[in-house]
């Protein structure tokens, strides 16, 4: 990476290219600032943004008056605008919060009241019969619930990629494999030392997610919160299972978690999860065989026909929870430093709202720019099962991944595009190769050939003559 010096200083350096960092990078770039994004991992979206439930929430159950609720409401509204502008897929599925025992049933009125307080006025009580008429595959043991009509399914990775790609197309600079080691603020500028060199900026925005507290300690010397990652394991069922639930099936939430959700994904699968397991490690996103089996059993309790469906994938995501319930977003006056921390589970829905909020925190007379007129709009990843795909169009080069119908052209475009993946994981998120039921049984050979020399972590250790 080029060293940036005082006379080649960025307006903003964003540390961390997760969903929140990407949304903020877009916000500031389109606002006219010169933006640099630093990502510690080999590829973007490699931390908390790697695994989530891919839902756009209204925030009906967020704590009323919290910053989280405000960012969610704003983020939800922004997402609809931005998705339209950037061509991101969005599928209205609606949600139902269901009670499976008397205790949960008794909690429903309070939840509805909360939704009203949060400005979600179209929630409506449903009788058991209404629920079963709408979702005939649900277990008959459901007692009651209410609907939240305006919850959507979205592509969590395409969204973040699109924010970042738009930032980059309009001038932002991304460095991956670049970890911030330390930093000094001289009253005017920040100088950050990274493993790849020295960089310079007027403002720092810490979006380091699971490492947010560590980055703050490195820059400020102390941090008022500690990240305690909360692991969520998920099981994904094959496409034939998507017919078993049309709405997002939510449980009555507890203090620590929204509980186990069953919902379709925009990719046409059925998703079950997450668990909520607090842990110390910020890197350990391992799954546990018996927990996955337990999750599946939970799913079968809710939807008995699931027992006949094939499992396609299993993964775990880490949520950057802290000892505080609310987001930890604050600006340190006189240091031109903003921390965007503790975005524990609603980051995908709230990201664009968080970006607006952060922009309003930082906007001052000295720090104001001319917004870009007619910003460039990059082409997004088009991976929704419910919208048109590349395989339906001429000259697609043929299908490489048969389970997810990924074409050669899609893979080549991503590999040759402005944000090429540096790992197989990254290629999977951008194209869905290997994400299907065979998990690489059929396409691995072809992918090895197509990606030769492209990854920092190659798929093979080398040819037999090496």
């Amino acid at each position: 990476m080029p060293y940036t010096s005082s006379d080649n200083c960025y307006d903003v350096i964003i540390i961390g290219a997760g969903i929140v960092g990407c949304a903020i990078a877009r916000q500031f770039t389109l606002g006219g600032a010169r933006v640099m994004i630093l990502e510690k991992a080999l590829d973007v979206l490699d931390g908390a943004s790697k695994g989530n439930s891919a839902i756009l929430h209204t925030g009906f159950d967020a704590p009323p008056g919290s910053l989280e609720q405000k960012c969610l409401a704003r983020g939800y509204a922004e997402y609809h605008k931005v998705a339209l502008a950037l061509g991101l897929p969005i599928l209205k599925s609606g949600a139902m919060v269901l009670a499976w025992n008397e205790e949960q049933l008794a909690q429903l009125p309070a939840l509805i009241k909360k939704a009203y307080k949060n400005g979600v006025h179209d929630v409506a009580m449903l009788s058991r019969d209404e629920i079963l008429a709408r979702e005939p595959h649900l277990s008959k043991s459901v007692l009651g619930g209410f609907e939240v009509p305006r919850e959507f399914l979205i592509d969590p990775w395409a969204s973040a990629h699109a924010y970042l790609l738009q930032a980059m197309a309009n001038g932002a600079v991304l460095y991956r494999d670049t970890e911030v080691v330390s930093g000094q603020y001289d009253g005017q500028q920040w100088r950050l030392e990274t493993n790849a060199g020295l960089v310079c900026a007027a403002q720092i925005i810490n979006c380091a997610g699971l490492y947010g507290d560590i980055v703050e300690q490195r820059l400020i010397g102390e941090c008022p919160f500690t990240v305690t990652p909360r692991k969520g394991q998920f099981v994904v069922f094959d496409k034939s299972a998507a017919a078993l639930a049309s709405s997002i099936i939510l449980p009555v939430p507890t203090k620590t978690t929204k509980g186990i959700v069953v919902c379709r994904t925009i990719f046409g699968n059925l998703l079950l999860g997450p668990t909520a397991e607090d842990q110390q490690s910020r890197a350990d996103a391992s799954t546990d065989g018996s927990m996955l089996a337990h999750l599946r059993d939970k799913g079968i309790e809710m939807i008995p026909d699931l027992k006949e469906c094939e499992v396609t994938a299993a993964y775990a995501g880490l949520r950057p929870a802290t000892e505080f319930q609310d987001y930890q977003i604050r600006r340190i006056e006189g240091k031109n430093y903003t921390c965007v921390g503790g975005i524990r589970s609603t980051g995908l829905s709230a990201a664009l709202g968080i970006a607006c909020h952060v922009a309003s925190l930082i906007a001052t007379d000295e720090f104001s720019f001319q917004a870009i007129k007619d910003p460039i709009i990059p082409a997004p990843d088009r991976l929704s099962n419910y919208h048109s795909r590349d395989w339906e169009e001429p000259d697609n080069g043929g299908i490489v991944c048969h389970c997810e119908l990924v074409t050669r052209r899609e893979i080549e475009q991503v590999l040759n595009g402005p944000l090429p993946p540096s790992t197989l994981q990254g290629l999977k998120r951008r194209t869905r190769v290997c994400m299907g039921r065979c998990q690489g049984f059929y396409c691995t050979g072809e992918l090895v050939k197509l990606t030769a020399g492209r990854f920092n972590l190659p798929m093979g250790l080398g040819h037999d003559d090496q």
């Binding site: 799954t287 996955l292 050979g445 090895v448 093979g460 037999d464």
Partner: protein, 418 residues
């Protein structure tokens, strides 16, 4: 839809979905029996199926009277089909099956359609993936099915790891050892959750010969590693926690039919076999559809699938001569014993049509010693002594069942104390 239908004909007498061993053998035989147009729709760049990347013997003894390696065998099957006049179309993916033999396709040129008098599903089988087996741990590079390993090594000459662990102990798991040796990869251990290897015991000494440690009856299998696999952890048969240093994991065996097209279609599926519900002629619930090969059940040898293709072709050719496909009365074959996983066929057509399968195939969930009994309308119509295990080839004579089944379903159970 592309204006020229992606370069494909819009109509065909028979469309075979899948150009592996069964599909090619069936298509070739159909042409030799005088069927007009036979098209094979293959989604890969080359037809031939799984044997294309099984760079080992023995293939082709029954079919060509010679000992061949997989890729040579696949090539011969393709050549035979082309010589017979089969139209093999590669890079064509069937995206949906519709009633009465209409197929939605996609090609490199875009979407297309094909209407066939009869469709034969020959989409084969694949191994169960890691998530399907609920193997926990990290998700590093170096975790591959045997199929992926073989396509990486034989087709691309790439080495994914140097010291992998093999998870599973079926015949294919042993074949993975050979695949590894081909590239100088040395598997360090074979790990099996059951109390013995699933392949026949006589292959077990091969492990010792190759220096591969065997662990059976293991629990809590976990794959660990940040970027590449670093270790495999498990609890061994004695209850001791084990950690084996390895840079890869081969997830082998537990084949299942590649049946997603089927699951998303109007055709009836048998959850036991994972394949289509067929009668003794290989005919599906929509009489325009037939099926043959490993889609029917997991899983048989190439030689078996080849023969199954040939047989099914004969019944199909006769059916074509009768004109429009018709639904005939049939009785269900029902598995009423948990020890039995599936039967193929799952349905017996009652008509004056002659021929059809001579044997019924049975799959087990657990080891069985006892009589496999078929009853119909309360009458015992077949009894066969079984001493077998899951994943073994089991066949019983079909003729007495077909001849003696009344109008009521055939029920299959195990009589353990006769």
């Amino acid at each position: 839809m592309t204006t020229n239908n992606g370069g494909l004909p819009r109509k065909s007498d028979v469309a075979v979905v899948g150009g592996g061993t069964a599909g090619l053998a069936l298509a070739t035989k159909l042409k030799r029996l005088g069927v007009g147009s036979v098209i094979v729709l293959e989604r890969e760049n080359d037809a031939g199926g799984i044997p294309r990347h099984c760079g080992h013997y023995p293939f082709g003894i029954r079919e060509y009277g010679r000992l061949l390696k997989g890729p040579d065998y696949a090539r011969r099957n393709v050549e035979a089909a082309v010589d017979a006049g089969v139209d093999i179309q590669t890079e064509v993916t069937v995206t949906a099956l519709h009633p009465d033999g209409r197929l939605s396709l996609t090609t490199p040129a875009g979407k297309a359609e094909l209407q066939a008098e009869r469709v034969v599903l020959c989409t084969g089988a694949r191994e169960a993936s890691r998530p399907q087996r609920f193997i926990g741990g990290d998700r590093p590079l170096g975790v591959l099915s045997t199929g992926a390993l073989q396509s990486m090594t034989y087709l691309q000459g790439m080495r994914p790891f140097r010291r992998p662990v093999i998870i599973g102990s079926e015949l294919v798991s042993f074949s993975a050892i050979d695949t590894c040796r081909h590239l100088g990869i040395r598997p360090v251990a074979m790990i099996e959750e059951n109390d013995r290897i699933l392949a026949r015991r006589l292959v077990q000494p091969y492990l010792m010969m190759r220096g591969v440690a065997l662990f059976t009856k293991v629990k809590n299998l976990r794959i660990l590693g940040r970027r590449q696999v670093e270790a495999i952890e498990f609890i061994d048969a004695t209850g001791k926690q084990q950690s084996i240093e390895a840079d890869g994991a081969i997830i082998s065996g537990r084949f299942r039919p590649e049946a997603t097209l089927l699951h998303l279609s109007h055709l009836e599926v048998d959850l036991g076999s994972g394949g289509p519900m067929i009668d003794q002629f290989g005919q599906c619930s929509d009489p325009s559809y037939y099926s043959a090969g490993n889609l029917l059940r997991p899983t048989e040898t190439s030689g078996w699938c080849w023969q199954e293709g040939i047989e099914t072709a004969k019944w199909l050719a006769e059916d074509l001569l009768r004109g429009q496909p018709t639904v005939v009365p049939s009785v269900r074959v029902q598995v009423v014993d948990r020890a039995i996983r599936f039967s193929v066929p799952q349905r017996l057509s009652i008509s004056d049509r002659i021929g059809g399968m001579q044997k019924m195939q049975i799959g087990l969930n657990v080891p069985v010693r006892g009589y496999l009994e078929a009853t119909s309308g309360g009458w015992s119509i077949s009894n066969t002594w079984l001493n077998s295990r899951p994943i073994r080839r089991i066949q019983i004579r079909l003729a007495p069942i077909v001849q003696n089944c009344s109008k009521s379903p055939v029920e299959l159970s195990i009589q353990r104390n006769k």
